[in-house]
């Protein structure tokens, strides 16, 4: 039974690390501030969620798991609030650039 829990937690941790790193890459790669926020969202939601889930498997039915669950709930409640505040502040600042918007490409190549 322990190997199953270890396997599940290892998979969750691996997936979490994958999403965390993808979020970091997106943070560097994206062209403007507004699109970077979406990349930061990946790390905040599924990256953090999967890593904490993997740790919860290791913690078992203890207070540690309850605390990890609290951390997760708290992160998922506050990260949209912080994102929204940041986005709104950036959009309202006249010295800041407006978001890049997608335009239909003139030719068929994407």
């Amino acid at each position: 039974m322990t190997w199953l829990i270890d396997l599940l937690s290892g998979l969750a941790l691996l997936g979490g690390v994958f999403f965390v790193i993808v979020g970091g890459v997106g943070l560097v790669r994206m062209p403007d501030f507004y699109t970077r926020m979406h990349a930061a969202g990946i790390t905040d939601t599924l990256g953090a969620g999967l890593i904490l889930l993997g740790l919860m498997f290791q913690g078992g039915w203890t207070l540690v798991t309850a605390k990890l669950l609290l951390i997760l709930i708290f992160l998922w409640l506050t990260s949209p609030t912080a994102s929204h505040a940041l986005f709104k502040a950036a959009l309202a600042d006249p010295s800041n650039s407006q978001p890049l918007l997608y335009k239909e490409p003139p030719s068929s190549n994407s």
Binding site: G26, M30, M37, I42, T81, H84, Y102
Partner: protein, 162 residues
């Protein structure tokens, strides 16, 4: 009165989980007293702030159905955005759209806006006078929001509360 008692019970439960002391009477009494202090301060703040409205959230069948659905949507959106970030061509098409949420209460609209922001690929830019401005990373994400599936589910959640 019931709300104050509920707040105290919530604080006490949180205190128990965070401290982990279950059988030392002195510390339990201290915990109960500090929860009472928190409830007293909250009551004073509520009296001073006329804008404050108590949050009414009841757990109904719709609420239990909504959160797993939201988590599943978050997983799907994460996979989509991760795929686009790792694609060498970076196939993104940022879009700003306006939405009209159908929720009546402010709590419902806030839940909807927060759900949109929590889903990667879409961020709520502003919520005023019942109009949501949403920035989407891709046009597909914007289109799926315009279809209004999430909006309907949050409205159903709100109905079950009322």
């Amino acid at each position: 009165m019931l709300r104050i008692l509920g707040l105290w019970l919530f604080c006490a439960g949180l205190w128990l989980v965070l401290s982990g002391y279950f059988n030392i009477p002195l510390l339990l009494v201290f915990g109960a007293l500090s929860c009472a202090l928190v409830v007293f301060i909250a009551w004073r703040v509520e009296k001073a702030d006329p804008e404050d409205q108590p949050l009414h959230l009841k757990i109904g069948p719709q609420a239990i159905l909504y959160w797993p659905w939201l988590v599943w949507q978050i997983v799907l959106a994460n996979l989509d955005v991760a795929k686009r970030i790792l694609d060498p061509k970076l196939p993104i098409s940022p879009t700003m759209i306006k939405l009209k949420p159908t929720q009546r209460s402010e709590v419902g609209q806030v839940i909807y806006a927060n759900s949109i922001t929590l889903t990667p690929g879409t961020i709520t830019a502003s919520l005023s006078d019942g109009v949501l401005e949403v920035h989407a990373l891709t046009q597909e994400a914007a289109d799926s929001l315009l279809e209004g599936d999430m909006d309907r589910r949050v409205t159903a959640l709100e109905r079950s509360n009322a």
